[in-house]
Amino acid sequence: MSVPLSAYLVFALLLFCIGLYGALTKRNTVIVLICIELMLNAVNVNLVAFSKYGVNPGITGQLFSLFTITVAAAEVAVGLAILIALYRNRKTIHIDEVDTMKR
């Protein structure tokens, strides 16, 4: 008797929601970025869970999650770089202060 697939999926869903909510409400841009990473992690949990308990289980899911991780890392790196460039000019990492362009 093993842990059912739905348990993993619900866990991933919760993680995703936490990440999403954090990304939408946290003020510090770094945290926002890391929350996005959390969302991507939730995706990975899904993928890995499906690779074990899904239809036609196999290694593919794990592989997919590896790509995801890589891409996420690249994304966060670029995000941080942009943040640093912004910080140089604006001296802030608070995302709500970055609203010069609007309407």
Binding site: L24, V32, I95, D99, K102, R103
Partner: protein
Amino acid sequence: MMENAWLIPLFPFVSFVVLLVVGKQLKERSAYVGMLLTFISLIYALGVLYERWTAPTYKQAYTWLTIGNVQLTVGFEVNALNALMLVVVSLVSFLVHTYAKGYMHGDERFPVFYAYLGLFTFAMLGLVISPNLLQTYMFWELVGLGSFLLIGFYFYKEEAKAAAKKAFIMTRIGDVGLLIGMILLFLEVGSFEYEAIFAALQNGNISTTIITLSAILIFVGAVGKSGQFPLHTWLPDAMEGPTPVSALIHAATMVAAGVYLVATLFPLYEASETAMMTVAYVGGFTAIFAASIGLVQTDIKRVLAYSTVSQLGYMMLALGSAGYVAGIFHLMTHAFFKALLFLAAGSVIHAVHTQNIEQMGGLWKKMKWTAPLFLIGTLAISGFPLFSGFFSKDEILLAAWTHGHVGLFIVAVIAAFFTAFYMFRLFFLVFAGEARTNVHDVHESPMVMVLPMIVLGVLAVVSGYVQTPWGAFLGEWLTEGTNWHAHAEGPSWIMIVATIVSLCGIALAWLIYGKQAIARDWLSSRFPMTYNVLMNKYYVDEFYGLTVMRATAFISLLFEYIDRFLVEGIARSLAAATRGIGRIGSRLQNGQVQMYGTVTIVALAILVVIFAVTGGYL
């Protein structure tokens, strides 16, 4: 000659065009152009009349407009009635052309005046020879245009402007009636030709409702044109036009067109008792109504104008009482003596530079020609025995009596009394007594003005003899081939009554204004109310001002508000709504990137929730 009768209207038209183009160069020589061309018309008309005397009715038609499989035609027709009318119109027109040369002398827009006269004469002659309703209507309107232009000839005068406008609009109200009436007839008969209409009437192809309805509607047109109550108010105002115009248009020819129209369509009216009654009662009422107003007016031309209205009512009364011949007979005699009166009045005005009879008087000695001629006219209109008006009026009274309208007969008699009274009031005030004018060198008008008056004066006397109780010469000719009475047979006391009434009127006028045995302010002091009502023409204008004009203004205002606020408002609010969506959208776009994400997530949540709910998963 009859084959070319269409040329008769064309000569004046040529005059119109020529004067429009080269009038400026011709200056006052324009008069000769107009006179010459109308004279040709007159000669031609006389020729046609002569020929028609023996020849049958001549008609010619050409296709004009094709609607589906219906061919509308234009053409011309010469029958007894319009042969007579051609002569009357072209004669009066020629005389007025001549007269105006003197009267209008020195006017800046002399050629324009003659051009307009030409246009009017063209239209009137065209109206007369029209063989169908549509063509009649077209010239009917053109006549109105000529009248409008000539009333407004002194365009810089506000009164002239208003009068012209009023004339056009009031007659147009009538014209719409005519238009509807003739369209209804057309839809029933399938043709505008008089012949076809009469044939259909005889075959009983037209329902009685339509007959009555269209007859009355067409009569509405006549009411407008002939200044019958309730559309009469424009005619007195039309006196703002130059006096020759009043003589030609608003006395002799155009205003008689309504009578002419009813006469032309007489079979139609005969077929509907209701229509006949309407015509008779409207005519009768107008006759006495206008005459009563005429009693107290002080403007020489207005008195004559109300007299015209009243006399036209007389004619309508005659037609409505089956007095076909009587109506036309009076039309003709009236044309002559009323034209004479107007021309004479013009001559007076020319001399004293006022139209107010209170400021005239004692002109008998100074105007050797005008005064007697005016007297002839006055006697004729008053129905003084052996003058033309006597015979024609007598014919009308006979017609009314024989047709059994006792009430109308009485009305007509009273109107005759009024007529005699106010006409002689006018005569005495102008020509008798002391001179009350400020103009000292009052002198007779030039011969060019006097001559036409003399011609008319002669006609005013003799034209009555074509139809006397002793010989219905005119009537027999006019009613040839019909079953209408050439002469109304009635008790002979009627003539005596008419004579007495007319003499009483004259006598009363003489007592008040000639001998001054009765105080002039007898009426105004005894019955100030009545006097005021009469003086103010029964407040008809004011009534219209309060009702029709107010209503029009109100509807316009209402529409204006609808247009400006409702229609535009809806358009604007739609635009505002569009912009509102944009504003909401751009308020969400507040620069906060997390807001952007939130919007997305909320949208996503809404979509999935909708999906879950509608899919029945929740």
